[in-house]
Amino acid sequence: MEKYTLSDRKDTRSGFGAGLLELGKLNPDVVALCADLTGSLKMDAFEKAFPDRFFQVGIAEANMMGMAAGFAIGGKIPFTGTFANFSTGRVYDQIRQSIAYSGKNVKICASHAGITLGEDGATHQILEDIGMMRMLPGMTVINPCDYNQTRAATLAIAAYKGPVYLRFGRPVVPVFTPANQEFVIGKALTFSEGSDVSVFATGHLVWKALEACEILKAKGISAEIINIHTIKPLDTAAVIRSVQKTGCAVTAEEHQIHGGLGDTIAHVLVRHHPVPQEFVAVQDTFGESGTPEQLMIKYGLEADNIVAAAEQVIQRKKLELSHS
């Protein structure tokens, strides 16, 4: 089991910025491309330290993805930076043909993912990006949960050869994972062991799941909290191991109910160990303007929603057991 302690509050995008700056020092092959969002992506420190390895491409994301593929051909390790919306939906065909199908070593780094982008509204709040990216053969999809994990993931993906989608966010959120952790791509992390229900959470929802765990404990329910930071390749063995113990699952993500972590886990469950599952996710709607806090409540992505989903799935498990 992994240890965690609430130590600070920071945005995950700053973890990316810190990791990228470190990479700049560690690896001369790392180059960064940005589509007019250097400050938002926290890439300014890299730009300042390594101006010759930073490429401002302007508001031209399609060209940025193609250029990144070209840099990979030239032996570089390109990191692209823009909002998650413009990193995926806007450039899906460029990623598909020039990067994924061509097997290019490009790191697509996407900030302001999900509903917590806030006031800019639904045009910018992409909730389908995990789905789009995980459908691409050979694409690794990572959604870290806090500043420290995002920083560690940024370092880890540079050492991995192949296309990666790294998703992080805008708001200041709890920092609770260790500062100098080693990030292992594809390895699920258990933050709390339990026997009644498995909660698989990714991104900002991991802390919410840990809050939910305390509420459930007070109700006498033992929840296992597992951080799925890598949605693809999924740590299938960890998922199966947990549900074999608990017999039911809740998934929690700042993403559409379709295509994201929930679907990914459901796929494993139906094939290997069918048990009831409940989904904490955005329920097939677009978002809207508001503060991140208001939106998380309105769209049902709070600890209370995870608690309710856990109680419901445990009820379903009991019903199924009583029928069998």
Binding site: D52, N63, I73, G74, Q97, S98, K104
Partner: protein, 280 residues
């Protein structure tokens, strides 16, 4: 290589295009025939490259990208004939389990190809990225990218043109196949976007023009382009070609953009093209 020898090779390349598309009963002979002289000049005369020792990065070599990937039978022919792979493999074009996909791909490791193309408008951006890598690596060779004129209708192309011009990517040579044909008719009919020359010029490119079906003009213009590269501006050659060049019934029309010749048409076409290197 002598100009006459290059013309001989181009004739064989055109035979390969006809035989591949006929063999696959699909593919794009028109644009392939139109660009056959250019691609022969590039792969057998102009480019510094190592066919037998292909490596992805192409360090200290000229690196070529085909953005209009549908003219793949032409690219496969010059790659095979210049030594990247056995020309017998051309017989597998577009067939199941082949490395010679309908549109070029790296998926099965076909030597000579560095990125997939086919969905139009993407190749020039990739070329820009590789050109910048070469600059960082102090590699003195060129990055060359061939695009179609129909492809100029894609927005991404203009993003790449804007970037390369404004950021002075001067080790980049773009060539646009100006045959004024696309699937639905002439470019002037489908989307008459006007003269490319002032457009490239205003984005900061050096613009040259040539007749892409006259070998002498191709060689002179390519060398002129090379002399103009590395002087603070990317270079583009607007290359006038005839779609279907070399096969009389395929010329002066857009109809052979993506249609394969049948048995009789193939015989007719091959009768017009000298076999100079031996059919595969």
């Amino acid at each position: 290589m002598e100009t006459e020898k290059l013309k001989d090779i181009a004739s064989q390349v055109r035979r390969d295009i006809i035989r591949q598309t006929h063999g696959a009963n699909s593919g794009h002979p028109g644009g392939s025939l139109g660009c056959a002289d250019l691609m022969t000049a590039l792969y057998f005369g102009f480019m510094k490259h190592q066919p037998e020792k292909f490596d992805m990065e192409g360090k200290n070599q000229d690196v070529f990208f085909l953005s209009n990937g549908h003219i793949s039978p032409l690219w496969y022919s010059v790659l095979a004939r210049s030594g990247y792979f056995d020309s017998k493999e051309l017989a597998t074009f577009r067939k199941i389990n082949s490395r010679l996909q309908g549109h070029p791909a790296t998926h099965d490791g076909l030597p000579g190809i560095r990125v997939a193309s086919g969905s139009l408008g993407q190749g020039l951006s990739v070329a820009v990225g590789t050109a910048l890598s070469k600059k960082m690596n102090k590699d003195p060779q060129l990055v060359i990218c061939l695009c179609g004129d129909g492809e100029m209708e894609e927005g991404q192309i203009w993003e790449a043109i804007m970037y390369a011009g404004s950021k002075k990517v001067d080790n980049l040579l773009a060539i646009v196949d100006v045959n004024n044909q696309q699937i639905d008719g002439s470019v002037d009919h489908v989307l008459p976007y006007g003269d490319l020359r002032p457009k490239f010029d205003s984005f900061g490119w050096v613009v040259l023009q040539m007749d892409g079906n006259v070998m002498e003009d191709i060689l002179i213009t390519l060398n002129k382009a090379k002399a103009l590269n590395f002087q603070g501006q990317p270079v583009v050659i607007l290359m006038k070609t005839e779609m279907g060049q070399g096969v009389d019934f395929m010329m002066h029309s857009h109809k052979w953009h993506g249609v394969a010749p049948n048995e009789e048409q193939t015989k007719n076409a091959l009768a017009q093209l000298r076999e100079t290197l031996g059919d595969y």
